[in-house]
């Protein structure tokens, strides 16, 4: 059976390289999965681990952090700081039972629109294979017992 699950990825894109790579992908009309919802940050070093956890808790199936290549950071080595933080975060995510593929750090220079688009496509496929994250079951280990009346505007 064909897998129709369309994951939602929150993409933290650094202003100088990866956001421009995404702009370039668009300008060059490179089509890729419309699954990545972008949030612009000045540098990947600004991405707090809490941002990633927040996105996963709010319903994202994955988080993509994209920055400049090592050695090419607009802020000298913000991307290296992001990498260090990411390494620690991965250890935490593992303990939560969150699969490695759900949170990814990639490098994309301003000229690498194609590479960024490919990264989104690749990640989308990986998440499609994994299925939805389901934060409450996966991380909190809770079980749904009964559906409350849908009073919230959720999904509206």
């Amino acid at each position: 059976m064909e897998n129709h699950f369309q994951p939602i990825i929150v993409g933290f894109l650094c202003n100088w390289c990866s956001y421009r790579a995404a702009d370039l992908a668009g300008t060059a009309r490179i089509h890729y999965a419309p699954t990545m919802r972008p949030i612009r940050v000045m540098c990947t070093a600004r991405v707090e681990p809490e941002f990633v956890l927040k996105a996963l808790r709010e319903g994202a199936d994955g988080v993509l952090i994209a920055g400049c290549h090592p050695g090419e950071c607009h802020y000298v080595e913000g991307n290296i700081k992001a990498l260090r933080r990411f390494t620690l975060l991965k250890a935490l995510l593992r303990q939560f039972g969150i699969e490695e593929a759900r949170v990814q750090l990639v490098w994309a220079a301003a000229s690498e629109g194609k590479q960024l688009a490919e990264a989104v496509d690749r990640m989308t496929e990986e998440l499609r294979a994994l299925g939805p994250l389901r934060w409450r079951e996966t991380v909190l280990g809770e079980q749904p017992v009964a559906r409350r009346m849908a009073e919230a505007e959720v999904g509206g």
Partner: protein, 688 residues
């Protein structure tokens, strides 16, 4: 409700004016003609946005960036009392400034504006209308939630260092450097080769006027050398670039020439006496020779030669020293070392030029295999009076004049297998070659094989007709093959050009004895590294990306970094000169302002919350965080902070906040952008 949500609605303790008011957001969804509207249901997004929390008014409009679109926003700010504006349109790198100015005109602080990029990151990246619309809604929701928490900010002003760095000493860079120097500003002109002049120095004549290239170029080169406002740094490369517009620190390596420039008079005796003769692959493109100590050409600027240690007998075997012995001023210095020079720069103009497509890539044209197949640059050198054949048009044997010459257009360009683009200058150069062959070898016949003649330029079409009237044959068709395999009488010992003449619809075999391949321009092999070094973008072909293809062709997305000439795309001399001047004018305008408005995206530390742990101190790449021993708190020096946010993310007490990228703003955007993704509300049972 998640704890963050509660946190967020509690409001910020540092709430600025505007934040306390009830948020009134205006949402404007742009059609961008069909660019967005074809893929995103813009009316649906606007209507939906109108029903979202905090949104006072939501509209969709054909072109938000047009003056009418902007007036719409201004009017709503004034009449509907908006205190936040969200525009869902193109990239903020395209029009964020435009709409910030719009807000400012209407009396709204520009930092209460937020942009949702639903074009580059939306409609242009997919065909899936439903998904694109859903994504656009999420982006709008994220922007609205973020905008509600945005605070008014005042811009920072930085001083603009009046010194400019021009990288590349070809005609574009040279023009830019001279324009700025004449305007009274200091320019550092860095050139990788041993002389300035670029490709133009290799040419003999320039189309369509048939001016002698050297006659118009060398005076400019001399001007640059003698100009008190220009520091010429040839045989040099930029190693690193740090800083930002107005205040770049650039490190340049001046490679050792092994010639003491203070002592050298440029007499050339060393070149004459050097016993090593090698093929010059650089300036003479393999058609001529140079010595191990050499100058590219007699009028090279600067006049000092360089020693090539890879071929110099002394460097290789420790013997010879012929140049040292003959030098009348003792200027040879084998011990010279590379020199590192640090420069303080306000703006940078990149004019790094192009490379010629390697004709060997197309084996059926025979370059490198069939002796009498030449590249266009080889032919340029051949017809140049100062070139290896002293201007005589001859076959590879160096003596025989050709009787029939075939000129093949579009080699490596207008060809999906190599470069799809038109290389722009080669048609005219090919016609110039036809003229020059007729001029130098009057009895020779010339055949031009073209796809289309691109003669769009002042006096270009007239030149084309002139060449036609001189008797050049023009055959319309892409050449299939150049071969030396004769099939019949009259073909023996000739190069046969196999081509479909598309005007008569027939295959033709045209025997010639010389073939010139009009190899197109391509981006330099290291263009991508250069782009990364200077922090600008380049496209897939490697051409540097301008801020706007039509309206901002010499400025890049990175403030303070400009581009000129063929590094931006294939160009002939007049366009390169125009871009060089344009880039210089832009820089002069910037210097004239003396200060520049900067994004007030800066970190600040709340002294009351700071525990003095000093984690942030070492994180800052700009040493912008100082620690006050007496009060045991850290402080950000705003003038040095560049706003990356590394310290903000690292502070364990959340005492550092990054203006315009505060934690609550980003958290709110995350919630907004995932408005449709949260797991449905159900009753959950805690694990046993």
């Amino acid at each position: 409700m998640s704890p963050e949500h509660a946190d967020r609605t509690r409001g910020s303790p540092h709430g600025a004016p505007g934040a306390e008011q009830e948020p009134r957001v205006g949402v404007y969804v742009c059609h961008c003609g069909h660019n967005i509207a074809n893929t995103v249901a813009v009316d649906e997004v606007a209507e939906w946005a109108g029903g979202q929390a905090h949104v006072t008014v939501a509209r969709d409009y054909k072109f938000m960036c047009s003056s009418l679109g902007q007036e719409l926003i201004e009017q709503d700010i004034k009449e509907r009392g908006l205190n936040r504006v969200v525009v869902a349109a193109c990239s903020p790198h395209m029009h964020e400034k435009t709409f910030r100015n719009t807000c400012q005109r209407a009396g709204l602080n520009p930092f209460l504006f937020e942009m949702a990029n639903i074009r580059e990151l939306g409609s242009w990246a997919t065909d899936d209308r439903e998904a694109a619309t859903q994504k656009a809604k999420a982006q709008v929701k994220g922007a609205v939630e973020r905008a509600v928490l945005q605070r008014p900010l005042d811009p920072l002003y930085v001083d603009i260092n009046p010194n400019t760095l021009v990288v590349g000493g070809g005609i574009a860079g040279l023009t830019a450097a001279l324009e700025l120097a004449n305007a009274g500003y200091h320019v550092y002109l860095v050139e990788r080769d041993s002389s300035i002049g670029g490709h133009m120095a290799k040419l003999d004549k320039t189309f369509p006027t048939l001016d002698c290239a050297a006659c118009i170029l060398t005076p400019k080169m001399v001007d640059a050398e003698n100009h008190p406002n220009i520091t010429l740094m040839t045989w040099s490369e930029v190693l690193s670039v740090h800083g930002y517009v107005g205040n770049f620190s650039v490190r340049v390596r001046k490679r050792a020439r092994f010639i003491n420039e203070e002592l050298c008079t440029g007499c050339g005796t060393c070149v004459e006496k050097c016993p090593v003769r090698i093929i010059d692959q650089n300036f003479e493109v393999g058609l001529g020779y140079r010595k191990a100590v050499y100058r590219n050409f007699p009028q090279a600027i600067p006049k000092y030669p360089v020693i090539d240690p890879d071929n110099c007998t002394f460097f290789q075997r420790g013997k010879c020293r012929a140049c040292e012995i003959v030098c009348p001023t003792d200027a040879i210095d084998f011990k010279q070392k590379d020199e590192i020079v640090d420069l303080e720069i306000g703006n940078i103009i990149l004019a790094t030029g192009y490379e010629q497509f390697d004709a060997r890539t197309i084996p059926q044209y025979g370059y490198g295999r069939l002796a009498n197949v030449f590249t266009s640059m080889e032919f340029e050198r051949m017809v140049n009076a100062a070139g290896p054949t002293a201007g005589r048009v001859v076959l590879r044997d160096g003596v025989t004049a050709p009787k029939r010459v075939g000129i093949i257009h579009c080699v490596g360009s207008r060809d999906k297998k190599y470069h799809e683009y038109c290389s722009r200058a080669c048609c005219m150069a090919a016609l110039k070659f036809a003229h020059l062959v007729h001029e130098r070898v009057p009895e020779a016949e010339v055949f031009n094989f073209y796809i289309d003649i691109r003669a769009a330029g002042k006096h270009y079409e007239e030149f084309y007709h002139r060449v036609l009237s001189e008797g050049a044959h023009l055959i319309r068709g892409r050449v299939a093959e150049v071969t030396d395999a004769a099939r019949g009488p009259g073909e023996e010992g000739q190069l046969i050009i196999q081509v479909e003449d598309t005007l008569i619809g027939k295959q033709r075999r045209i025997p010639v004895d010389m073939v010139i391949l009009m190899a197109g321009m391509e981006a330099r092999k290291d263009a991508r590294q250069v782009a990364n070094l200077f922090g600008l973008g380049c496209d897939f072909e490697g051409w540097f990306t301008e801020r706007h293809a039509k309206l901002d062709p010499v400025v890049t997305m990175t403030e303070g970094i400009l581009i000129a000439g063929a590094c931006q795309g294939p160009k002939a001399i007049p366009e390169s000169v125009a871009q060089g001047s344009a880039a210089a004018a832009r820089v002069a305008g910037m210097i004239g302002q003396r200060t520049m408005k900067m994004e007030p995206v800066r970190a600040s530390i709340d002294a009351d919350s700071c525990s003095g742990c000093r984690i942030c101190n070492n994180l800052c790449p700009y040493h912008a965080i100082v620690y006050h021993e007496d009060r045991r708190v850290s402080e950000v020096l705003t003038a040095l902070c560049q706003g990356c946010g590394a310290c903000v993310a690292a502070c364990p007490s959340a005492a550092i906040s990054g203006a315009h990228f505060t934690r609550d703003q980003v958290m709110a955007q995350i919630e907004g952008i995932l408005w449709d993704a949260r797991q449905p509300e159900v009753l959950w049972l805690e694990p046993a």
